[in-house]
């Protein structure tokens, strides 16, 4: 994942790199062109000067020969050679690379040449003016260096600007994001977004606000529906259960009929408990359970273990309890009892026959460990009706109730699977 402003930044960087890179030969050509034309001009000036000076020696051929001979010795860069009329051509300018004999350097040097022709005393002379021009690689190197420096300056500027702009620009967005992260539908608390002068963000906030209000309304509606539905279900369930008890008293029941009645008992009890759990969840959402006292976890665990002792024996489970016995919290004892019974009954149910259950109590932590084959789905485990295991007898609400009770008291429920053991812990 990349940050939003990093993406154009990358593109900008690559684009400026290409442009600056392409500019290097352009600069070079431009510099070279200017320089060449300046040198050509310079060579023309030299030519005019030579012509002017030599014109003063017009009359005497002998003196002229001597002068030209000396001239060629002193100024080898402007060499005069006498030629026949046939050899006279039009002027030409060009470049050559020569190894200058006068410089103590084995490098080849570039020269700008003007090859021109002079007429002095009706004699024809060829004038070769060569002026040293910088060899191309030096120019290119300097231009490249300067370009690189500017490129680096550009990038540093981009980075700094990018950071500043992103911090300022995205501030309202970040604030909204933090508020959204903290949003919890089940608390039904509306979010007040900070007003912003950026149109897009303001629109985002308004849309989010509408969305959330709608969600909260739907959530409330759904909760009321579940609560009403489970209230309505209580009576028919009670009637079925009671009818079964009455039917059981009939003296004319056959063995098959009685077996049938027996198999009906478990699903009805299950139905009753799912319904009770739904009611409890609804109640947890909007009731304050005011009756608060110091609740000793150890005592309640012992009571629950006693309640489940038949099942523990039947499954040949080894139950161990360790740690402090002074774990107590100010809370509602009915809720803690419900929480512990849900966790313990799960452990008893899911531990393999002959397996072990370990209960650890610490001053700020409570853990139930039981043997198991494989990890349950971590992210789903505390959700309502999340079928995290294949077992059929689960109401699917036990752990959701545990979570709700924990939320009420700001406790942290946690599930882990390590070394073949399911571990449910609560941090106080």
């Amino acid at each position: 994942m990349t940050k939003l402003l990093d993406r154009p930044f990358k593109a900008f960087t690559i684009y400026s790199l290409i442009i600056l890179f392409c500019s290097i030969p352009m600069y070079y050509w431009a510099v070279d062109y200017i320089w060449s034309s300046e040198l050509d001009e310079h060579n023309q000036i030299i030519k005019s000067e030579i012509q002017h000076q030599l014109d003063q020696w017009k009359n005497d051929d002998k003196d002229l020969d001597l002068l030209i001979e000396n001239w060629n010795i002193v100024r080898p860069e402007a060499k005069l050679t006498e030629i026949t009329y046939d050899q006279v051509k039009s002027d030409s300018t060009y470049e050559v690379e020569l190894n200058s004999a006068f410089i103590d350097d084995s490098d080849m040097e570039r020269f700008r040449i003007l090859l021109t022709y002079l007429d002095i005393n009706d004699r024809h002379y060829q004038l070769l003016i060569q002026t040293n021009i910088d060899s191309g690689d030096e120019t290119i190197l300097s231009i490249a260096l300067v370009t690189l420096v500017f490129f680096l300056l550009l990038i540093t500027g981009f980075i700094i600007l990018n950071k500043r702009i992103s911090i300022q620009l995205w501030k309202p967005f970040q604030t909204t994001l933090e508020q959204l992260k903290a949003f919890d539908l089940s608390r039904e608390k509306h979010i007040e977004f900070q007003p912003t002068d950026i149109e897009e963000f303001e629109e985002l906030n308004q849309t989010l606000k509408k969305l959330m209000e709608k969600n909260i309304a739907v959530y409330k509606q759904q909760k009321t529906f579940i609560e009403n539905a489970s209230h309505e279900l209580q009576t028919p369930i009670a009637q079925i259960k009671s009818k079964l008890d009455i039917y059981y008293q009939s003296s004319k029941l056959s063995k098959a009929q009685s077996d049938m009645l027996d198999t009906l008992q478990l699903p009805i009890s299950r139905l009753a408990r799912i319904n009770k759990n739904l009611l409890l969840l609804a109640k947890l959402d909007h009731s304050d359970f005011k009756d608060i006292s110091k609740v000793n976890f150890n005592e309640l665990i012992d009571e629950s273990l006693n309640l489940f002792s038949d099942y523990i024996e039947e499954r040949e489970l080894k139950v161990q309890k360790s740690g402090t016995d002074i774990l107590d919290q100010s809370c509602n004892s009915f809720l803690v009892e419900t929480l512990l019974q849900n966790l313990l009954s799960n452990a008893i149910k899911y531990a393999p026959i002959g397996g072990s259950i370990h209960i650890e109590l610490a001053p700020k932590k409570f853990t139930i460990l039981n043997d198991g084959a494989e990890s349950l789905k971590q992210n789903m485990i505390f959700e309502r009706f999340a079928s995290v295991s294949a077992s059929q007898a689960s109401s699917g609400l036990g752990l959701a109730i545990v979570k709700e009770i924990c939320i009420r008291y700001s406790w942290q429920p946690k599930y882990e699977f390590t070394k073949g053991q399911h571990s449910f812990s609560i941090d106080f």
Binding site: Q249, Q265, E314, K349
Partner: protein, 224 residues
């Protein structure tokens, strides 16, 4: 013994009456708060089974009416709400027990038996059946004055049976009596057999005069 069932669901009220109508109990039904108040002003009842959610008001209001003149009337709240506040409030206002819907009739009968014993026989803690005597407070059972060593769960079951004389009790009713709401969490209620088997054996070896039958192979019946 006269019982007043205050319950607006007629089917449920009839079932309760049906189950409880044996030689001990005569049940009357009131399906609203006002008719319950009317009946109470004319007759004396040994126990009232009171539903809290009535069409014309909360059953808790009846509790306030009841208190002074009916010292010996037992009261069991039966509620669909399973609300802890209601339970505490009801018990504080003088209810003797609280049962949340849905329940097994045998559970109601056992609670009723216990409430009437406490109310009618001056808080008696002694239950008698033929040559069997149970001291509730001491959690002790005796046959022909010889103590029998019962576990807590066996004693619980024994009291359930005594409260449901000549009734057929299902394995599920027994399991729920012992483990409460969570009984259905577990698929197997075979432990009930073991407890009943042990109880039967102990009663037999000590020479109890009555019988505890196994009916249809899955239920139990305490004959008295």
């Amino acid at each position: 013994m006269k019982i007043l069932i205050v319950e607006d669901e007629m089917e449920l009220a009839k079932d309760m009456a049906d189950y409880l109508n044996d030689e001990h109990y005569i049940c009357e039904i009131a399906n609203s708060l006002s008719s319950a108040i009317d009946k109470l002003s004319v007759h004396f009842y040994d126990c009232i089974l009171l539903d809290l959610m009535l069409p014309d008001g909360n059953g808790l209001e009846l509790l306030k009416e009841l208190n002074p003149q009916n010292k010996h009337t037992g009261l069991i709240i039966i509620s669909a709400k399973d609300a802890l506040e209601d339970k505490i409030k009801g018990l504080n206002l003088g209810a003797d027990d609280y049962l949340s819907k849905p329940f097994h009739q045998s559970e109601l009968a056992a609670r009723l038996h216990s409430v009437i014993r406490r109310k009618q026989f001056d808080n008696s803690q002694i239950v008698k059946q033929y040559n069997l005597t149970i001291d509730i407070l001491a959690k002790e059972a005796r046959i022909d004055n010889k103590a029998i060593n019962l576990t807590k769960k066996e004693l619980d079951l024994l009291l359930l049976f005594i409260g449901n004389k000549n009734k057929v009790l299902s394995k599920s009713a027994l399991a729920e009596h012992l483990s409460g709401d969570f009984a259905d969490m577990f698929d197997n209620h075979d432990f009930v057999y073991a407890h009943v088997k042990n109880l039967k054996k102990k009663l037999k070896t000590h020479g109890y005069n009555g019988t505890l039958h196994t009916v249809y192979g899955t239920g139990y019946k305490w004959e008295a």
